[in-house]
C-alpha cells in the first residue's frame, strides 16, 4: 500500500532536524501545514526539475547545515542527470522523491516512467551510495531517522498515493520574502 502523501510529509517533518527544506510542486501546498520556519523554502515559482540543483548549491554553501529537497517523480524525470551531479559531490543533500506516478498539479496525467522506473536503481547507478526505498507508511516511519541522518548525498524514494483534482499550489509567501528569511536564518 503506497503512503498517503500528507503522512509521508508528517514523518519527514518529524525527522528533518535543523536542515533547510526545499519543497517543489505539490509539496509546496502541503508543507506549510506542517512547518513554518525560515529554513522552509517553497521553490515556487520554479524551473521544474531543478530543485536538486538549488539544494546542492545551498548545501555547498552551508555544508554543516544539510538540505532536504522534496521532488516529485515528474520533476525527477526532467533532470535525471542531477543524480549524477549529486553523486559527484560530498554534500549533505537529502533528495526525497515523492513518486505517485502522476503529474499531479496538471490534472493527474501519468508520466513516462509510471509503473516501470526504478528511482532507487537510477540513484545507485548514478553513484549515490545511500539510497532508500519506502513503499509503506510504517516502513517510512521506522526508517526515516536513519535515512535522514549521516552524510549525504542521500536519495529516499517514497511510493505515495496519487491525488486527483489538485490545483497548482500557492507558495506561503512571496519569493523575495522567502529569500530574505532564509538568508537571515543562515547568516
Amino acid at each position: 500500500m503506497a503512503i498517503e502523501p500528507r503522512k509521508a510529509l508528517e514523518i519527514l517533518a518529524q525527522n528533518r532536524g535543523q536542515r533547510i527544506l526545499i519543497t517543489t510542486m505539490a509539496s509546496v501546498g502541503m508543507w506549510p501545514e506542517l512547518s513554518n520556519t525560515p529554513l522552509d523554502f517553497a521553490y515556487m515559482p520554479s524551473a521544474m526539475g531543478h530543485g536538486p540543483g538549488l539544494g546542492l548549491g545551498l548545501a555547498l554553501a552551508h555544508p554543516e547545515r544539510g538540505v532536504i529537497v522534496i521532488n516529485g517523480d515528474g520533476s525527477m524525470l526532467m533532470n535525471l542527470g542531477s543524480l549524477v551531479t549529486l553523486a559527484n559531490h560530498s554534500a549533505n543533500v537529502y533528495l526525497v522523491i515523492m513518486d505517485n506516478g502522476l503529474y499531479e498539479v496538471t490534472g493527474g496525467q501519468v508520466t513516462a516512467g509510471t509503473g516501470h522506473t526504478d528511482f532507487a536503481g537510477l540513484a545507485l547507478s548514478a553513484g549515490i551510495k545511500r539510497v532508500y526505498r519506502f513503499d509503506e507508511e510504517e516502513n517510512w516511519r521506522a526508517g526515516a531517522a536513519e535515512a535522514l541522518s549521516g552524510p549525504g548525498p542521500v536519495v529516499i524514494w517514497l511510493r505515495i498515493r496519487g491525488r486527483l483534482g489538485q490545483k497548482t499550489p500557492t507558495p506561503p509567501r512571496p519569493m523575495a520574502e522567502q529569500i530574505e528569511r532564509l538568508r537571515q536564518a543562515l547568516a
Binding site: 523554502f41 515559482p45 540543483g53 538549488l54 546542492l56 548549491g57 549524477v84 551531479t85 529569500i179
Partner: protein, 160 residues
C-alpha cells in the same frame, strides 16, 4: 585574450568562490588553472540549466559563483535562466562560449549559434558584453563588478 591563468586572476579579484561549469573547447582550456587555484571550487554538473540552479543555491547561501557554459547550453537552459534571474531575482553571472563566432564573421561557417545567442540573451533581458581576442581579464573584472554593484544578472559572450 583570456587564458586560464588570466581568468583565475580575474575571478580571484572578483571574490568568486565557485565556478559551476560544463566547458566547451575554449573554456575547457582553463581547467588546469581553475583546478589549480585553491580558493576556487570547480563544480561539474550534467546540464546547463542545472549549472544555473546550482549557482542560484550558492547565491542564496551568500557565496559568489560564476557559471561557464557554451551557448548551446544557454539555449537549453532558458527556463532555469528565466526562473533564477526574473523570479528569484538573483545576480547570476555567466561566461558563455559563442561557438563559431569568428567563422561566422568571415562568412565561412554554417553554425547557427552566432545568429541566435545574442538575441536569446536580449530576449531574457540579460545585459551582456561580447568579448573577442582584444578583451582582457581587466574587462572581465569590470563586467562582473558592475553587474554585482547593480545587483543584476550579467553575462559575457566569449567569441570563439
Amino acid at each position: 585574450m583570456l587564458d586560464g591563468p588570466a581568468v583565475v586572476t580575474a575571478l580571484k579579484e572578483c571574490g568568486i568562490t565557485h565556478v559551476v561549469w560544463i566547458p566547451d573547447s575554449e573554456i575547457g582550456t582553463w581547467e588546469p588553472a581553475l583546478v589549480g587555484e585553491g580558493s576556487l571550487s570547480l563544480i561539474r554538473v550534467c546540464r546547463e540549466g542545472e549549472a544555473i540552479t546550482v549557482a542560484a543555491g550558492l547565491l542564496l547561501g551568500a557565496k559568489r559563483p560564476i557559471v561557464m557554459i557554451q551557448c548551446t547550453g544557454l539555449f537549453e537552459a532558458g527556463d532555469a535562466l528565466r526562473n533564477v534571474v526574473h523570479d528569484l531575482k538573483l545576480p547570476l553571472f555567466l561566461i558563455i562560449g559563442l561557438r563559431s563566432y569568428y567563422a561566422h564573421q568571415e562568412g565561412k561557417g554554417r553554425d547557427t549559434c552566432p545568429i541566435y545567442a545574442e538575441p536569446i540573451l536580449k530576449a531574457w533581458q540579460i545585459r551582456h558584453s561580447l568579448f573577442d581576442r582584444r578583451n582582457t581579464s581587466r574587462d572581465l573584472v569590470t563586467a562582473y563588478l558592475e553587474a554585482q554593484a547593480e545587483k543584476r544578472a550579467g553575462a559575457i559572450l566569449l567569441a570563439e
